[in-house]
């Protein structure tokens, strides 16, 4: 990237209505799309845009996050300089963990101050997209904006929960409201903010001094009249994945070839932790259509309209339709599964019948035996 940019993936108080999928893990590491975790999309987008210093603000249940990110190697972030920094809460008092994200920025201000970088891109982990930040920075400079907010204009309803945004003709943001607000707009905030590092640090300090501790709700909402907050409309595919309905829907969207091609390949590849699974094995009796299948699977049964993560075993006579089966799931002989989400290591015995409905898929927690 021409400009000196650092990235922050902010996991603090992310809206999370994923039920049991986030019982033992944070939203950022919810498995998605056959072999990824939600955070892979923001992380890969940053790396593909040439950002080589990325901080992840870990907050709660971050064991799976540390495990997944490791040294940052799959994202090419294990550098001599810069690289990946996982920053968990630096607090003495357990009460402080519930404070807003600005407090967290403040605690880690040394990290920002030490970095010889001009701009900061702040994102969340649950906006599933493949975006190049370079043109966003360009637009940010062209508009001489203080803050640029990346948004998605979309007439069809967004199933997840996203803030709504109102823009004027020049694209300047005049109003932002939480998802439950009354504002009527088809423009949704992608919770991606670009600003100069100095401005961020200033916002952190002045807001905290006034007893405000939320970056968006306090520092940005309340300054829409004082600061030039510009909107940038992202054209690519977006999945807002913070509710169970949107999780299911956005996984199923990957079965559309055009979404698969766009999200995984354009403008760059999405990287994730390498598992060294062999290619998927289809046996003589397998019947698969309209599905996404990761490496390490062994398929003897029938699979339609479904997503199989790495290492799933579909035994003879089993039928899986419109479902998501996560890593190392085992579906027993002659079992029938439809409209279901099976978390990692779920084992379904033979001749079981499990049915959810599209609006409310059946959900089995990690390691459950059915």
């Amino acid at each position: 990237m021409k400009h000196k940019v650092m990235g922050v993936i902010n996991l603090i108080h992310e809206t999370d209505e994923l039920d049991r999928l986030t019982q033992g893990r944070c939203l950022a590491t919810v498995p998605f799309g056959g072999r990824y975790r939600l955070i892979d999309f923001a992380l890969s987008s940053m790396v593909n845009s040439g950002i080589s210093k990325v901080a992840v603000f870990a907050h709660t249940k971050y064991r799976s996050l540390m495990d997944h990110l490791g040294s940052g190697k799959p994202w090419d972030l294990n550098h001599r300089q810069s690289g990946l920094f996982v920053l968990p809460p630096a607090t003495d008092d357990i009460q402080e963990i519930s404070r807003g994200d600005l407090y967290h920025f403040y605690q880690h201000r040394d990290y920002f101050n030490r970095a010889p970088l001009e701009f900061v891109v702040i994102t969340r982990s649950h906006m599933v997209c493949n975006i190049d930040f370079e043109p966003v920075i360009q637009a940010h400079l062209e508009h001489a904006a203080d803050i640029t907010v990346i948004c998605k204009q979309q007439a069809e309803p967004i199933l997840g929960k996203a803030r709504k945004v109102k823009m004027d003709e020049e694209g300047r943001i005049t109003a932002i409201q939480d998802h439950f607000g009354r504002l009527v707009s088809d423009i949704h905030s992608m919770e991606m903010y670009i600003m100069r590092k100095e401005l961020l640090m200033e916002l952190v300090e002045t807001s905290l001094a006034q007893g405000q501790d939320h970056l968006v709700r306090h520092a940005i909402f309340s300054r829409l009249d004082k600061l030039h907050v510009q909107g940038y409309l992202y054209e690519g595919y977006l999945g807002v994945v913070n509710t169970l309905a949107s999780y299911y829907h956005n996984n199923m969207n990957l079965l559309k070839p055009e979404v698969w091609k766009e999200l995984f390949f354009r403008p760059g590849s999405i990287y994730t932790k390498v598992k060294d699974e062999p290619p998927a094995r289809y046996l003589e009796s397998s019947k698969v259509s309209n599905s996404l299948v990761a490496n390490g699977c062994r398929i003897e049964g029938t699979v339609t309209g479904s997503i199989l993560f790495r290492g799933v075993h579909v035994r003879k006579g089993a039928v899986i339709s419109n479902s998501i089966v996560m890593q190392n799931g085992i579906i027993g002989e002659n079992s029938f599964i439809s409209h279901s989400i099976l978390d990692k290591d779920v084992e379904v015995a033979s001749s079981r019948d499990i049915r959810g409905v599209e609006s409310s898929p059946f959900l089995a927690g990690k390691r459950k035996i059915i």
Binding site: D276, A280, V288, V293
Partner: protein, 388 residues
Amino acid sequence: MGRKEMIAMLLAGGEGKRLGVLTKDLAKPAVYFGGKYRIIDFTLSNCAHSGIDTVGVLTQYQPLELNRYLGIGSPWGLDRRDGGMAILPPYVKQKGGVWYTGTANAIYQNMSFIERYNPEYVLIISGDHIYKMDYELMLDHHKRCGADVTIAGIEVDWSEASRFGLMHVDDEDRITAFEEKPKTPKSNIASMGVYIFTWSELQKYLIYDEANRSSSHDFGKDLIPSMMRDGKKMFTYPFKGYWKDVGTIDSLWEANMDLLADEPPLTLNDSSWRIYSVSPHQPGHHVGVSAEISASLITEGCMLEGKVHRSVLFYGVNAAKGSTITESVIMPNVRIGEGASIHRAIIGEGAVIQAGVTIGSPDDEAITIVAVDQYVTNDHMLQEVEHS
């Protein structure tokens, strides 16, 4: 630097002439195998699982692609501060430099690399074979026998024995004689080209062999026989399991087909013995509404709308509607047009098979090869694809 008990020297300079166009710009160890691997992944993964953390990879022929692939050895856990992977091409010395003239000469020229680690034992392997083997067990056997050299041996079919270098052994695994590809074999124990030497002995014989002007400086032809003549303690390590030299088109195709059996002789799914490789970072493969896939291996990144039966597909293969692929090996990023039909073929990386093209036929046993980046049209005009 601490002393290493055993380091590995991996001979990866093979031209693989018998693989024809598949090794035109590629050393044989870098040839693709099994849907996501290259041949060399198997020996490197063996090292990783056998606790060997220092591997010298000797390259010579067409090393560019291989070097790029190996990098600093991270996928095999060989990016170490102390030891790790080192790529050892021939180099210019004070008194001029020469190409590696034989397998023994290649090691001779890199004796200073071995001396740095001052190992007790040296494992010599090649990057040309597909097998899973714990070299640590072989080392235990070597020590137990008090051997100067141990050569891994595998029982082969008597009908095929004359294709191999054979060893005669006694009841205690001691090697009593060698036969190199005899017309009428008297033993069916083939040398796998996997050697463990006690370093002090190997060092002596490398120097001795180098000084011998009539030697071709080859382990099998020169160095091992001269140890035999001197009555050195030579043992075989009996290996049971899958082992295949994929040096010909037929054997490469066969070894790929071997993977498709319901219970394949070589399992890739063993979680305690994973085969490591460089990840191409591709999403799960997409099986379209009209696709039919059976008895096949399919890798991530493929987009399939056609019929696939008894085939191995590498990553990024695109097969359009109405296309048929049977008994074939399709290497990475091949594009197959609508209605095209491919039978008993190996299609090189990046090739484009235009709509309606027919390659191979069910009545013909022969295996068709399409070279890397070839553009195959209906009148079989072959031309290289231009990369954009």
